[in-house]
């Protein structure tokens, strides 16, 4: 622990401590050896001194010894009193007995009783003792004993020690002063470096630099530190500028987001307002059409009646005038109908009634109905139905209306010219399309006018409306009808040379994606056209559970289901709804299933509707002989029934002429799509 504390001392203190410890150790060692040497040599000189003294005393007292003059010997010995360090002296006779002696007053040690046989000097119990043989003229006369205490030596030692301590203190202080002065050489740069580092780390100030003092290792350390600091400062500056940019970008983004949110809200608001306005417009148009139709009803009705009456009475000259009233009334009616159509399209209420029809036959009928209009402006109509057009599945009324519009326009704007209609089946993007081209040699349309041709009320020219009449809505409606069926109308025209309108429609029009179908079961009342895009299936069965069940799963399969509880109601609904397929129970109260089937097949209008007999009585042969298309035995397998209906659905149109019974086992035929 103590060592640890030392280790953790500041570098300044450590340096001083090291210096002090080193110098003190050197001083102590030096002083101790010096003191030891001095004391030893002093001791030698002391004993030599004492030996010399003993020789002198021995010489002086030899005579007294020889003559046994005790007093003289004692006087000689007592002279030693002057010598402070002599504590005792004695003269022994040759017999070894004490002849004379001197003992200092405060001496406590006793004289040795017998002298040793030989001379010598030795230290004994803090005293220096000398035995010296006394002789006279070569004749031994006795032995001298001199004892000296070490007071001289010890006082010298004390003096020396004191001097040494003082010397050590002085040199220690000097070393301290020097060390404290010189440690700065090392500690100051380090301490300054440390200060700088603290400043950098605490204040994050990367601009300061550590001060370099000398070009030693610490100097190099400081250089390295400063270089590191410069690098950090550079990175910090870069980081800060990046941060500033990031913050400003973030702010920009935030403001942009809030702007967008606001814009979105405004858009939503605008959309809501627009939708409200659109609804209001539709309602207004519906009301207006009602208000306009009522007086129009009277105008047309009366003029027709007057025409009949005039013809009855033979006043033929007025017939033309009445016909003009009628035609004006009909024109007004066409306008109202067009406006209503357009408002229905815009309100999204225009549904599609999809059915399969013979395209060539429809075109032929249309062309023959158009013959008087063609002839009016002395035009000719040429039909080009290339190849086998086959069946088309679309809303036939709308297709007819589009073609009617295109042909009407061609007739209206062409005089003494040729109008041709070309219809062909093509394939594009893996889909079958029908292309209708209506070409005329009339006045043509300028490029500028072509651009707005399909907008509402945008007849190519205001003057045209005056000269040729028309609502200006025909092309707009046609265009939207085409879009509704997934097709398009385009125009290509040269001013003065004529125009070509091209209508492109899918050969199999898909109904718009319908919302999830809810089962709609009606016990006694049928609902018409609530789901015009779905095929209507009429379920005739007296068991409400069966009606409910069949309605549910057929609705789920995408059909519009109408249910009848007995044969009478079933026949009525069949007549009114012209369903795509009828499922018919056999055992029913009132007219049974066989009776219903017979009456359905007897009615020329209903005979074409495929009938699937669904019953517990297994009599397939009778059913098929009576004209049923298929026969199923209860309990009905849902998938089999759906499959069967899917297959019969497509046969509706041609069913009139060839009602081919389809047995349940046939399953590999391609199914027409019903989405």
């Amino acid at each position: 622990m103590k060592l640890l504390r030392l280790v953790n001392l500041s570098i300044k203190r450590k340096l001083m401590l090291i210096t002090m410890l080193t110098s003190i150790a050197a001083l102590v060692l030096f002083s101790a050896s010096f003191l030891l040497y001095d004391l030893i040599s002093f001791r030698h000189s002391l004993s030599a001194d004492l030996a010399t003294q003993a020789e002198i005393i021995g010489y002086n007292s030899a005579a007294a010894m020889t003559f046994k003059d005790e007093a003289a010997a004692t006087v000689t010995l007592t002279a030693l009193k002057a010598k402070e360090d002599i504590t005792a002296a004695a003269l022994y006779g040759p017999d070894g007995k004490i002849f004379a002696s001197y003992v200092r007053a405060n001496n406590k040690s006793s004289l040795p009783s017998n002298p040793p046989p030989i001379d010598g000097i030795h230290f004994k119990k803090g005293y220096l003792e000398v035995f010296h043989a006394v002789s006279l003229d070569g004749e031994p006369v006795g032995t001298l004993f001199v004892q000296s205490d070490m007071s001289q030596w010890s006082s010298r030692a004390k003096r020396y020690a004191t001097l040494l301590v003082i010397f050590m203190l002085i040199s220690g202080l000097l070393a301290l002063a020097i060390a404290s002065k010189l440690q700065g050489l090392i500690s100051r740069p380090i301490l300054r470096l440390e200060d700088t580092m603290r400043m950098v780390s605490v204040k994050r100030n990367y601009e300061v630099r550590a001060l370099k003092f000398y070009d030693d290792e610490i100097g190099k350390l400081i250089d390295g530190f400063n270089a590191m600091l410069a690098e950090i400062q550079q990175r910090d500056t870069a980081l800060q500028s990046a941060n500033v940019e990031l913050r400003s970008r973030t702010q920009e983004l935030e403001s942009e987001i809030s702007q967008r949110k606001q814009a979105q809200e405004e858009l939503l608001n605008a959309k809501r307002i627009a939708e409200d306005a659109s609804r209001a417009k539709s309602a207004f148009l519906a009301n207006m059409s009602h208000e306009l139709r009522t007086p129009l009803n009277a105008i047309i009705g009366y003029s027709e009646m007057i025409e009949e009456e005039i013809q009855d009475t033979g006043h033929f000259q007025n017939v033309q005038d009445v016909k003009k009233i009628q035609s004006a009334g009909r024109h007004l009616l066409a306008l109202i109908n067009d406006v209503l159509d357009l408002s229905k399209i815009e309100a999204g209420k225009m549904g599609l009634h999809l059915e399969s029809f013979d395209l060539a036959q429809m075109i032929q009928e249309l062309a023959s109905a158009f013959q008087p209009t063609i002839a009016k402006n002395f035009n000719t109509l040429e039909l080009d139905l290339s190849g086998d057009l086959g069946l088309m599945r679309a809303d036939v009324t709308k297709v007819r209306q589009i073609l009617f519009n295109l042909l009407s326009n061609a007739c209206k704007f062409t005089n003494h010219g040729a109008i041709s209609m070309r219809i062909a089946r093509t394939e594009m993007n893996h889909r079958q399309w029908i292309e209708f081209g209506v070409r005329d040699t009339g006045i043509g349309i300028s490029e500028e006018q072509q651009g707005k041709l399909f907008n509402e009320f945008a007849q190519a020219d205001v003057s045209i409306a005056r000269k040729y009449g028309g609502t200006g809505l025909g092309l707009a409606i046609s265009h939207r009808f085409a879009k509704l069926m997934g097709g398009n109308i385009s125009v290509d025209s040269d001013l003065g040379k004529g125009s070509v309108f091209t209508l492109l429609l899918p050969a199999e029009v898909n109904a718009e994606p319908s919302e999830p179908v809810k089962p709609t079961v009606h016990e006694n009342v049928a609902v018409l056209e609530s789901k015009p895009q779905a095929d209507t299936i009429l379920v005739i069965d007296d068991d409400p559970a069966v009606r409910d069940l069949m309605s549910r799963f057929l609705t789920k399969s995408g059909f519009h289901v109408v249910a009848a509880a007995d044969g009478e109601q079933g026949l009525k609904l069949a007549k009114r709804l012209r369903p795509r397929v009828i499922t018919l129970d056999v055992v029913m109260p009132g007219i049974d299933g066989w009776g219903v089937l017979r009456r359905l097949k007897a009615d020329s209008e209903l005979a074409g509707i495929p009938v699937i007999m669904v019953t517990i009585v297994d009599n397939a042969v009778a059913a098929l002989n009576l004209g049923a298309s298929s026969y199923l035995v209860k309990p009905v397998d849902r998938d089999v029934l759906t499959d069967l209906i899917q297959r019969h659905r497509g046969n509706h149109i041609s069913a009139n002429s060839q009602d081919v019974p389809v047995s349940v086992s046939v399953s590999s035929e391609e199914e027409p799509s019903c989405t």
Binding site: R293, T294, N297, I299, G301, M305, E529
Partner: protein
């Protein structure tokens, strides 16, 4: 001679339709509002009813519903005549119990066809 009850509030249309129907040989009785239509349907028991929809007192929907839920009158075929040419009106007409539906202004030949077929249907059943 088949009797036709015409329920129509517009005077001109009532007059015009009455005269045209009479010219075609029908006997026509006319009512100018829903209440009178209801009375005449019960009192005269006509063979067919031509029903305008927007009528005072009781509108055509309501009158049709009443006549079709009444044992005495439910057998009389009703043709709804409406100026609302929206598909929803057509659906509603059948939903409420009308046997046929046509829009105004009337295409007289088409209307006569519908009258004839309903009268024929009634005769057979």
């Amino acid at each position: 001679v088949p009797t036709i009850l015409l329920v129509e509030d517009n005077e001109m249309n009532r007059d015009m339709l009455t005269r045209r129907l009479e010219r075609k040989g029908y006997q026509v009785i006319a009512a100018h509002d829903g209440g009178q239509g209801h009375e005449l349907a019960h009192a005269q028991s006509p063979d067919l009813i031509l029903m305008d929809i927007s009528l005072p007192v009781m509108n055509g929907w309501e009158l049709t519903r009443r006549l079709k839920s009444d044992e005495a009158t439910k057998h009389i075929p009703i043709i709804a005549l409406t100026a609302h040419a929206l598909a929803t009106d057509r659906a509603r007409a059948f939903e409420i119990g009308c046997d046929e539906y046509d829009t105004k202004p009337v295409d007289f030949a088409r209307l006569q066809g519908k009258i004839e077929s309903l009268l024929a249907e009634k005769k057979t059943s």
